[in-house]
Amino acid sequence: MSDFGGLQIDVGGVVLDSPVIIASGVWPMDPSMWPEASLKGIGAICSKGTTLEPREGNRGKRICETHCGLLNSIGLQNGGSVSFVQNDLPALASSGKPVIANIAFETLEELRQIIERLNSERDLIGALEMNVSCPNVSMGGMSWGVDMDSLERAVTEARCKWRGPLWVKLSPQAPSIAVAARICEASGAQAIVVGNTWLGMAIDNDREEPFFERIFAGLSGPAIFPLSLRLIWEAVASVNIPVVGCGGICGPDEALSMFLAGASAVAVGTGLFLDSSLPVSICFKLSRHMENRAIANIKDLVGRGRHFRGETGVAG
């Protein structure tokens, strides 16, 4: 039962009570660390990026604040797919919210093996989210999302093996988000998430060297919001499957803009570092906006910002 009337929506085969998703990599996997009452307004929880085997993550400094933003170089630190299935997945599922299982892989064989493990717990997983966009690893991650042939092979393979709803989290670094989105749709994805962090870097001026060991890192936070919004706009125009808007949403107004641009749901990440009640604030904002315009269902809000100067709205 949704806390907010009219905000329930089906996103790529997953029914969300609220269209606000916790993005991958920002939320503790142990429910004991979730702030009390903070699940209100959350429609689904994305797991931290899971790889086949455990990963230590990147060495050295991992965080660098920038003007209105945050560079991170975490490097997919996670306990691996066996630990995920045994520990994290049941813990996340205990929230009662759909779990979006975010997976990262270096090879198609790894992708097949992870999916095989997750298929055994299919009932606990709302959707599989293929991470083809992590900028902080040398193999896999973003490299799948910037090469369109690789992207097509990976999504096709996942669609063939995975028994549930399939989402793909695309990279802002893709040469064309429209082309990447169309490839995902044609290869069997039921939703796309646009996008992930933007590739950036910082230099330590005192040491006269790059701040991060891996030199480049992923930029998030309000600084990237206008860039993300443009990507949503382009992606929505190119596919008929739902688009989840992700990137720089740190307040309810930005989330609303994402819906008006055509996003069917939004994912929040860095914004939660500032305010863990952001999801519920977004829901209040959406409800109020809809009420003021006599919009009964969130579906009718999606893409309303595209009805201007003869534009016809969401693709299709």
């Binding site: 990599g25 920002v26 939320w27 503790p28 142990d30 004991s32 660390m33 979730w34 702030p35 009390e36 931290k48 230590e56 993550g57 400094k61 991992r62 965080i63 660098c64 604040e65 003007h67 209105c68 933003g69 945050l70 991170n72 975490i74 630190q77 936070g221 309000p222 740190c250 860095t270 939660l272 570092f273 500032l274 305010d275 863990s276 009640s277």
Partner: protein
């Protein structure tokens, strides 16, 4: 046996809103501030910390982690040094400014078990020990040691002495108190049954391991790391220990000295 600090249970921090009540310069680029919160602050232990940021501001984006030097139901005090743009902006905020607080975060120092407790601080590392000295002063014999680089820290040292009258102050150049480092001072008075807590720069914390070699069974350090979420989600503050990778904001910042892999 796995260190209980690492295994928990851990409590999540909460998000609070409040106002800056006062903000005073303490010399040496340090600032003493008080925040009055709208809602009740959960009880905390010395060494736990809060993320402090100006409300509704995106630049700087993240809260800065500060150990509370004193906390009550609706107010919390911090002592911090201006070390960059973020702390410079926080130091310049006028009273009345609305702020966001997330906390209390992480694990503080455990309740002391030894009769005598030695608190070893390097400059701003003194912050959590005001609370500790107050809290355990009636049940423990407490020796507080503050190490500073030199005479330019005189006012700061005086400020600390006003609050902890029997504090022992040492300086590298010998211009304030005895000549030497806080670690040397701690070593000079250490007895094997003592419990020792330390907070300060990483090299100092690493050096205090000499007390571990000298037989200190309960040697705890508070480790400072860059962090973002403060609730164990982002893994930006991971550090290596004998028990594996831990989060400074959840399993830390206070860890047993022997747990930390100091050369990582």
């Amino acid at each position: 046996m796995m260190n209980q600090l690492l295994t928990g249970p851990h409590k999540p921090p909460i998000d609070l809103k409040g106002s800056l009540v006062f903000s005073e310069a303490v010399a040496s680029g340090c600032r003493y501030v008080r925040i009055k919160t709208d809602l009740t602050i959960p009880a905390s232990s010395p060494g736990q910390f809060f993320l402090l940021r100006e409300s509704r501001v995106s630049d700087p984006l993240l809260g800065r982690p500060f150990a509370s030097i004193n906390a009550s139901r609706n107010s919390v005090d911090f002592l911090f040094r201006v070390v960059g743009r973020g702390t410079e902006i926080l130091a310049s905020l006028p009273p009345g400014t609305r702020v966001d607080l997330r906390g209390p975060c992480g694990n503080g120092f455990p309740v002391p078990r030894s009769r005598r407790l030695i608190l070893v601080a390097g400059t701003l590392g003194i912050a959590p020990f005001f609370d500790a000295a107050l809290r355990y002063g009636s049940t423990q014999e407490i020796i507080t040691i503050l190490g500073v680089p030199g005479h330019e820290w005189r006012e700061f040292a005086g400020w600390c002495k006003e609050r902890i009258p029997d504090i022992r102050i040492v300086s590298d150049d010998g211009k304030i108190g005895n000549s030497g480092t806080a670690v040397e001072e701690a070593v000079s008075m250490f007895r094997s049954e003592d419990e020792v807590w330390a907070c300060g720069p990483i090299p100092m914390l690493k050096n205090i391991g000499i007390l571990h070699s000298a037989g200190c069974e309960r040697l705890f350090v508070s480790i400072e790391k860059r962090m973002a979420c403060g609730m164990g989600g982002c893994l930006g503050c991971s550090l290596q220990t004998c028990s594996g990778t831990v989060r400074a904001c959840v399993e830390g910042p206070v860890l047993e000295w022997k747990e930390v892999l100091w050369n990582e």
